[in-house]
């Protein structure tokens, strides 16, 4: 855990940050370089709101980089969440979708006097059956091994897990800043 960060040397475009950690007898000096892991740790502290490590205020250049890093994280998380929500719900399954498509053959229509495609019905979305809403589990009384086990009906764990993941994804979407959503939608 970073304890303090301070500028220790500035010349031209080059700035050194001195990073001290609790639980460390060494001093780390790092440059403003996105590939440097110590610099990334500084940005993480800013993103996590631990700005007290800077004393007075967060240096502007660090805040800019931290904002950019946070934006990228939110962008990636939003994309993952949107993709997760787009998956079907295991409790509902997927209904089969059919549509008429040309076979590649054509026949002459004597009424219109034109060649027309021969159509056939094609399954474009395969049906997926919903999973059972509930399952039965055998429960043993650990405090009384000789007791008869009981049968309990619970929500299907697949549905529970699906609902939980969807709720988490929805929470990510709900908490994503509009600027990130706009950037995602632009692509």
């Amino acid at each position: 855990m970073i304890q303090t960060v301070e500028k220790v040397y500035v010349e031209g475009n080059f700035t050194n940050y001195k990073v001290t950690y609790n639980n460390s007898d060494r001093v780390i000096l790092c440059l403003q370089d996105t590939a440097n892991r110590h610099y990334q740790e500084i940005l993480d502290e800013i993103i996590n709101g631990n700005t007290s490590i800077f004393g007075d205020s967060v240096p502007e250049e660090l805040q800019t980089d931290a904002d950019a890093k946070l934006f990228k994280q939110q962008y990636n998380a939003y994309g993952t969440a949107v993709e997760r929500l787009a998956q079907y719900q295991v409790a509902l399954g997927v209904e089969e979708v059919r549509e008429m498509q040309p076979t590649g053959e054509q026949v002459f229509n004597e009424e219109t006097l034109e060649m027309e495609d021969v159509m056939h019905e094609v399954v474009v979305v395969q049906a997926i059956e919903p999973v059972e809403a509930t399952v039965e589990i055998t429960v043993y009384d650990e405090s009384n091994p000789e007791a008869e086990p009981t049968i309990q009906t619970i929500e299907n764990p697949l549905i529970t897990k699906d609902n939980q993941e969807r709720a988490e994804a929805q929470a990510v979407v709900n908490n994503t800043p509009q600027a990130v959503i706009d950037a995602w939608n632009e692509v």
Partner: protein
């Protein structure tokens, strides 16, 4: 009783002609090889191991670090420790190794303060991270993605299930495999094969794209789901399901050596590299400049009027490194014109270079002075750190 046995006829002429199939000299050698090592010699299979310092021979930072309660690189080069409030540990480079395998060093984790009930977000693991540009040949994210096989020797008094994970940092995808330590305090070789991932290409750059982690203990956040044994988008709960808690006693210890991660579905014999080659590979990520009393750093003088400075060259690094140093009154000095001036620490002008820096002492020296820069304390320590 008479038993009649009928066998298909054999065309001897045909069989003999099969022996006459053309094969080159190298092919003949391979056919006559008696060990896998001989085959590898003949086909020149080199640089198979993605892991750097898998034999644990290089430990530039030191051979033992006590009181580890946080993340960081401590002893063995390239092996990072992730400890999120899960006990206190001593990590060391040991000579306890599997007998007759050619290894001379191992990495040891010893618990010094136990945590029998980890909090939900706690984790303890040893990991190595890899640059994406080093792994493009894995063809990750394509239909031709390569399988990977991890082999290693491990020993612990704590038997049971342990989890190893590959984590794709670029795409937040992961895959885990379980292995079992069957016999207490006995070296065992483990081999785990991970399928190729047809999703999520690795960035072709010097960033941390992939990491392999050996979990030693985890909280509920990492173990409450179903172990994800095929590549999938990361869900923390599925990463280390079934992992034993190595932190539940101060008697617990865990050793590892002979780590090899390679393309393919089979483990080949560990690829030993010469010590100097191993060290050279580690230098890309960390390079010790000086540690201890009277170690030479360079030659320089007064920069920008009164600042002691010298130009320091080092092996090419992954990126602009950090300076990892100890700090204390009189740790560093310049000796010139029969006089010495001392200071406590350095700052640096890297000029965004991966091969050189100008180190600036935190003291003041007379204008025009030139001289030798060295360390003058047993606690002096200065290194370049470009780890992932």
């Amino acid at each position: 009783m008479t038993v009649n046995v009928s066998k298909p006829s054999i065309n001897l002429r045909e069989k003999i002609s099969e022996l006459d199939k053309p094969s080159g000299i190298a092919g003949e050698h391979i056919l006559r090889s008696e060990t896998p090592q001989e085959v590898f010699e003949y086909i020149g299979a080199r640089n198979r191991n993605i892991i750097i310092n898998g034999d644990m021979s290089i430990a530039q930072r030191g051979t033992s670090t006590a009181s580890i309660t946080g993340n960081g690189y401590h002893t063995i080069d390239r092996f990072n420790t992730i400890n999120t409030t899960l006990g206190t540990w001593t990590q060391s480079q040991e000579t306890d190794v599997p007998t007759g395998q050619g290894f001379s060093k191992s990495l040891k984790m010893a618990c010094t303060t136990a945590d029998a009930s980890p909090a939900s977000g706690d984790r303890l693991d040893i990991q190595q991270k890899f640059e994406g540009q080093m792994l493009q040949y894995l063809k990750k994210g394509t239909s031709n993605a390569e399988s990977l096989t991890l082999s290693f020797w491990v020993k612990s008094n704590k038997t049971g299930t342990y989890i190893v994970e590959l984590f794709d940092n670029d795409n937040a995808r992961q895959i885990s495999q379980a292995y079992t330590i069957d016999s207490a305090s006995t070296w065992e070789k483990k081999t785990l094969t991970f399928s190729g991932d047809t999703s999520g290409a690795l960035n072709n750059d010097n960033g941390s794209s992939l990491q392999v982690s050996w979990f030693l203990a985890v909280g509920n956040n990492y173990s409450s789901g179903t172990l994800s044994t095929s590549w999938t988008s990361n869900t923390n709960a599925n990463r280390a399901v079934g992992q034993v808690n190595l932190a539940d006693s101060t008697s617990n210890e865990w050793y590892i050596t002979g780590v090899q991660l390679e393309v393919g579905k089979f483990a080949t014999p560990f690829e030993f590299l010469p010590y100097d080659v191993n060290l050279q590979r580690c230098f890309r990520y960390y390079e010790l400049l000086a540690a201890g009393y009277a170690k030479m750093l360079g030659f320089g003088g007064a920069y920008n009027a009164n600042t002691p400075a010298f130009v320091s060259y080092y092996h090419p690094k992954r990126t602009t490194p950090s300076i990892d140093q100890t700090s204390g009154a009189g740790y560093y000095r310049i000796y010139g014109n029969g006089v010495e001036y001392t200071w406590s620490a350095y700052s640096a002008l890297f000029q965004a270079s991966t091969t050189q820096a100008m180190l600036l002492g935190s003291g003041t020296i007379p204008q025009g002075l030139i001289g030798l820069f060295d360390t003058i304390s047993g606690s002096s320590y200065i290194a370049y750190d470009a780890e992932l």
